[in-house]
């Protein structure tokens, strides 16, 4: 039996294998980069690893960048069929008026996650009387993902979620939650097919902790995507979502606004 098939351990979807790996969620993408082997628990789960593969199989790359007082996320908008209604194809979802979620990976799993997140955020607001903060929602999503890695009866979701919002105390926040149940706050990050290349690009850009303005944030995100995928986009080929401290509502940019930024980028270069 080839090594890649899990050696008989992938039938019971959440148990450990001899190398201390859980089958089905997985840090495959993390291990491939030389820099990141010291990263999280060096300790991938196959149940989890396959879920990460599913995220990559969607063949879409997403990028998120946090500026000084704004956050921008951008993703490819691949419409596989001309007959499809483009407005219904989206990976960018408002969870509340103030929180946005960019889901990279399996769209059906994304919709489940978004539905549950919306419910949870609404209940939170009702129960506690104030808006659910970004980190609390991210933790909730990550904790749910962890349950799927430990209980055999549910498979992990094939989705990496980037949550963005403006926190009352901490300002602009960008969190990323993965099928393994990990979640971190990020200055910039990426998910999907070209995740590692994008992270390498962003690390160079954000090395000196620049305090990016709103325009710089959006343009860094879009130009990172363009650079990593090595193509120049039209405004209809990408989706962009933002939150800004001066107007903390989560907003999806219109095609015209995206065009303005694309033009600014090409003029800059």
């Amino acid at each position: 039996m080839s090594r890649g098939s899990g050696g008989g351990y992938d039938r019971h979807i959440t148990i450990f294998s001899p190398e201390g790996r859980l089958f089905q969620v997985g840090n495959v993408s993390i291990h491939t980069s030389p820099r990141s082997f010291v990263s999280r628990e060096n300790f991938p789960c196959f149940v989890v690893e396959y879920a990460f593969k599913a995220v990559k199989a969607a063949a879409v790359t997403s990028i998120g960048v946090r500026g000084k007082d704004s956050v921008c996320v951008v993703t490819q908008k691949k419409v596989p069929d001309k007959l499809l209604d483009q407005t219904s194809v989206t990976h960018l979802f408002p969870i509340t008026k103030y929180l946005g979620l960019l889901a990279t990976g399996m769209t059906a799993d994304a919709r489940t996650l978004v539905q549950q997140a919306r419910n949870e955020a609404a209940e939170f607001r009702f129960r506690y009387g104030y808006e659910m903060p970004v980190d609390v929602l991210s933790k909730w999503i990550a904790d749910k993902s962890q349950v799927y890695t430990q209980h055999a009866y549910m498979r992990p979701l094939g989705v990496v979620a980037m949550v963005l919002g403006i926190d009352d105390e901490k300002g602009a926040q960008l969190y990323k939650c993965d099928p393994a149940g990990h979640f971190y706050g990020h200055k910039a990050t990426s998910a999907g097919l070209k995740e590692q290349e994008a992270i390498n690009f962003l690390e160079k850009k954000m090395k000196n902790d620049p305090a990016l303005s709103y325009d710089e944030t959006v343009q860094t995100a879009i130009s990172a995507l363009q650079s990593v995928l090595q193509e120049d986009f039209k405004a209809t080929e990408i989706e962009v979502g933002v939150v800004r401290a001066e107007n903390p509502v989560f907003r999806v940019l219109s095609t015209e606004e995206i065009d303005e930024h694309l033009t600014a980028i090409s003029e800059r270069d």
């Binding site: 019971h12 959440t14 790996r21 990990h182 971190y184 992270i199 954000m206």
Partner: protein
Amino acid sequence: MGDSQYSFSLTTFSPSGKLVQIEHALTAVGSGQTSLGIKASNGVVIATEKKLPSILVDEASVQKIQSLTPNIGVVYSGMGPDFRVLVRKSRKQAEQYHMLYKEQIPVTQLVRETAAVMQEFTQSGGVRPFGVSLLVAGYDDKGPQLYQVDPSGSYFSWKASAMGKNVSNAKTFLEKRYTDDVELEDAIHTAILTLKEGFEGQISGKNIEIATIGPKRIFKVLTPAEIDDYLAEVE
């Protein structure tokens, strides 16, 4: 817990009498980032490496050491998501005790209840063991205490212990340096030196976490600035 379809345990005995899943869980712990704890005569210190996947990660958003009650804290080696589950359960157990007895839960009891949860997951249907070992540090009427809990649910009280990638070197180092009457401040320095031993790269307040509990019985996670001060003292 678990669906009715999985009313059988996934952790079963091998012919040689071992619970192989637990062994694998320990392997998982052994590949985790190094953490350690030292019990001093007047307190306990716990510490861990905090290596993040990328410089893009906001290290202020990550806190590996967590408090369970005002006078008990915990650190782990292994899988972070599993750790969060245990922290949540332990906090709830501590709070339930407090509600019933109007008293802070003793360290031994909290450790025992947490360990019982971990054991449950090695025997119940449709679940896997937790991929973490915990170091629980607390100070109650019995004095300063340090416990290590393993994925099997077994726990021991330690004078000093380490877990994770660099466990053997760290333990050797601690064995040499430990004395029964060590004071908290010295213990903090020893903890830092132990972490430094196996540390890849430049150690700083941003890539390690340290927490202490002293005679005032308040569990406190040190700020990066305070850690940097201690690092300077150690130089």
